[in-house]
């Protein structure tokens, strides 16, 4: 119904028009450990296997799949923190060869510097990416982004004085402050309690409406994916994980939880995702016995 089957794999490097980020047959193999006298003591581990994906400008894409399916590996490759074993990743038709400030990253455990205040954490990022800015411009960007995530009054606090939800808002502000082309979020709400998570999801929706930057987010939550995304990429179980299906989410924006849940197609999408995730998770659990 809403499914767009995995598109035939194009062989040319050139991405289709309107596509910002393009993955072509990306695989990641973690080599097995080598034991004494170079004999292999464990075999190679194929985390993701020939994944191809096109992400258009200004779309919110979530990647969902059973645990251990290589979602984070995929995001790290896009972020340039990890190198694809084979295949290419291009952004605006230029290959990604390492990390760079055109891709902002938000981490599950916030990764804020504990010795810096909220403002200093954001300032550190901006200053690193734009070293030639004047102090006034720098402070302007920092305060704008603190405003954006609604943290006014906490500028001088250190991360250990903040709640988990506030810390992640700093993480989001830091990632947005460098004005990246793409925002990469690795289970940004995974470490938060359910109420805070729900609140921050709506905050993300609000913030996204202001910038409409391309976002790639990893999640475990079906509701989160349906609330936020334009496209949902469902991955199969690992090892050698692939893309199983890509769902289009047709809900009009701006969204809120209530309007989304009452959309006529909500239940069908949800059922489809649940079926996929339960099936994959069942295989994962059974294979462990």
């Amino acid at each position: 119904m809403h499914t767009v089957s995995n598109p035939a794999i194009p062989t040319s490097m050139e991405a289709p028009i309107g596509v910002q980020l393009s993955l072509r047959q990306v695989s990641k193999v973690f080599p097995g450990k080598r034991g004494f006298l170079n004999r292999k003591s464990s075999s190679d581990f194929v985390a993701i296997d020939e994944i191809s994906l096109d992400v258009e400008h200004n779309t919110f894409v979530t990647i969902i799949g059973p645990s251990g399916c290589g979602k984070s590996t995929l995001l790290n490759i896009i972020g340039g923190l990890s190198e694809a074993t084979t295949g290419t990743v291009t952004m605006d038709n230029r290959p990604i060869i390492g990390p760079g400030p055109d891709r902002g990253m938000v981490f599950q455990n916030y990764a804020l510097m504990p010795w810096m205040t909220v403002a200093d954490n954001i300032k550190f990022a901006v200053e690193t990416v734009y070293p030639k800015l004047s102090t006034a411009q720098l402070n302007q960007i920092v305060s704008e982004n603190i405003q954006l995530v609604d943290l006014n009054g906490s500028e001088r606090k250190h991360p250990h004085e903040l709640s988990g939800g506030m810390r992640q808002r700093v993480g989001i502000a830091r990632a947005l402050a460098i004005n990246p082309k793409v925002l990469l979020m690795d289970e940004p709400f995974g470490a938060l309690d359910a109420l805070t998570r729900g609140y921050l999801q709506e905050e993300i929706e609000r913030i996204w409406e202001q910038h409409r930057k391309t976002v790639i987010m990893i999640t475990h939550s079906i509701d989160e994916a349906l609330l936020l995304s334009d496209k949902i990429v469902m991955m199969t179980r690992g090892p050698a994980a692939k893309i199983d299906q890509i769902l289009d989410v047709p809900f009009p924006r701006p969204r809120d939880r209530n309007s989304v849940e009452h959309h006529p197609e909500y239940d069908a999408l949800r059922t489809e995702m649940e079926a996929h995730l339960y099936r994959e998770t069942r295989y994962v659990e059974q294979s462990r016995i």
């Binding site: 510097m113 504990p114 010795w115 690193t128 990416v129």
Partner: protein, 275 residues
């Protein structure tokens, strides 16, 4: 619940309750009193070694030395304040030199797996050597008791700072490094803005251990060096005047405690919620 709480804590006559700190202070004072009493009685009754001074005599001497810290009647009759300053000066020079070597070297070693493996044998071999084993070597090389004292402080207080700094730098959380990497920060910026601040709690606790060792070592070394608190003890031993030895021991302990507290404060200052 409401009824019972209103019964147990009537607002008019609050029962006298000691909090834990107050209790601890009381137990401390009580035990100190008992100890001094036992000492006084025991010394008068000759329970201990022959010629052991009484508590009152020792406290009297402590009072005299601390109220007359700065007099100078030649090297064998020097106020305890002067001796303390001589010891502190040696510690300050030797310890500062040790820190100036240990911290940068520790950072370099911590950042490179090869360096840490290559330098580990030196550190492991030199670390367990008793400071006093260096004394003859120092005297032979420097032909000077002052320089030898500083040298011994340096060589023995270098290791904890070096080891802790290298450990702290090698174990900087991957998260911080990832952030730095995704922002495209230069190597130098990453070192100064991320790695060193992240390792600072480890560096400061290394400095704290080193300071403790420096203070331990100076007293022992000075027994052979002719001035300072250690020599004061040695001199009083030659005079066979035990109360002054006890006074010096007490003062050494107090100064060590204060030095340690300074570093405890610094540790707290750089922890930012990290344990």
């Amino acid at each position: 619940m409401a009824a019972s709480s209103s019964v147990s804590s009537p607002s008019s006559s609050k029962p006298f309750v000691l909090n834990d700190n107050l209790k601890a202070v009381l137990v401390f004072l009580l035990s100190l009193g008992l100890f001094l009493l036992f000492w006084e009685v025991g010394a008068n009754a000759k329970w201990f070694a022959k010629g052991m001074p009484t508590a009152s005599k020792t406290l009297e001497e402590l009072w005299w030395w601390t109220t007359n810290p700065f007099f100078d009647n030649g090297p064998n009759d020097l106020g305890i304040g002067w001796n303390l300053l001589i010891s502190l000066r040696r510690v300050a020079i030797g310890y500062t030199a040790a820190s100036l070597i240990a911290v940068p070297l520790g950072i370099l070693i911590g950042m490179s797996k090869v360096a840490s493996k290559a330098f580990n044998p030196y550190v492991q071999l030199l670390k367990p050597i008793s400071p006093l084993a260096w004394l003859p070597l120092g005297l032979y090389i420097f032909r000077d008791s002052e320089k030898t004292g500083v040298f011994i402080i340096m060589i023995s207080s270098i290791w904890p700072t070096l080891v802790n700094t290298a450990f702290g730098v090698a174990n900087v959380s991957d998260d911080y490094l990832k952030v730095s990497k995704t922002l495209g920060a230069s190597r130098l910026r990453t070192i100064f803005k991320v790695i060193i601040p992240a390792a600072l709690p480890n560096i400061v606790s290394g400095l704290r251990i080193s300071m403790g060792i420096a203070w331990l070592v100076i007293v022992a070394a000075e027994m052979l060096l002719g001035s300072g608190l250690g020599y004061f003890i040695w001199n009083e031993w030659n005079n066979l005047y035990i109360p002054n030895i006890l006074v010096a021991i007490f003062i050494i302990g107090m100064v060590g405690l204060m030095l340690d507290q300074i570093f405890a404060y610094l540790e707290n200052l750089v922890s930012f919620g990290r344990s």
